[in-house]
């Protein structure tokens, strides 16, 4: 169907769209399509959510202090690794 074809075409713009870097023209076209295509709306929302979830987790990934100390030691910079900088 015509609509399905349209969806496929738009998938290639989704990444730029969620980044806010899509050209104005394509953006308008996509948003117009989203108004009456529930499936694409779900895909856009879950795509955004996917990226959100990834970014939320990022803050929890800090280097453990023992790993950092061993790194300083390995680099012969052990005297700098002892103090925990806040």
């Amino acid at each position: 169907m015509n609509k399905v074809h349209h969806c496929k075409e738009l998938v290639s713009s989704l990444s730029d769209y969620v980044d806010g870097s899509l050209s104005e023209e394509l953006c308008l076209e996509l948003e117009k399509h989203l108004l009456d295509c529930e499936n694409c709306t779900v895909v856009v929302n879950t795509l955004k959510k996917t990226i959100d979830i990834v970014q939320e987790q990022k803050t929890q990934d800090k280097i453990p202090s023992d790993v950092k100390q061993r790194l300083f030691y390995r680099l012969n910079l052990a005297e700098f690794g002892k103090e925990e900088t806040p």
């Binding site: 496929k8 990834v54 929890q60």
Partner: protein
Amino acid sequence: MSEEQNFDEPLNIEALKTGDRHELAKMVELYSDQVYRVALKMLNNPSDAEDVLQETFIKAMRAIKNFQERSTISTWLYRIAVNESLMFLRKQKPEAVVIEEEPQNNEDQDYSAIQVVDWCCLPEKEFLSSESRAHLNEAIQNLPAKFRSVFILRDIEGLSIRETAEALNLTETNVKTRLLRARMRLREDLTQYYGERMAEVKNE
């Protein structure tokens, strides 16, 4: 304590190049988090990530003399970290790298497989559980390495398309294509996972 005094100031590249220990320590202090994160996401194994972390800084300290200021130290370290991770993977499972070389799927095939389940409405705690986090890490790990590296730099580390292209020696168009594919695959994976969770939550 005196070692911490000027860690807030930008790195002095000239001092780094002459091997100034304080400046090198500052580089490690400033960038070890990001290098470790990249290695961990590339390899999904803390002990392997630590190896890559150490190798990255050893290489960086050796190569700093030749650092061309065309990119930032940060981008340069990302590049070394990704390369070291890829090298590690190649050594560990050479067969995985061979798969990377296969021709890409035809795009239509990718897109016709799109699952449509609106799992955004799940309670927020679902996304924060440790099980959910472990699944996400696994899903990232399952991305082909060439998509994974782009995804990590752009969506986890927050580099711009241009910086990602610089760090990985790719064109910006190439970065965008890989990013789209990585994001769509990950979305697909999470849709599968959270789609099942939605059914379970309903029955709980």
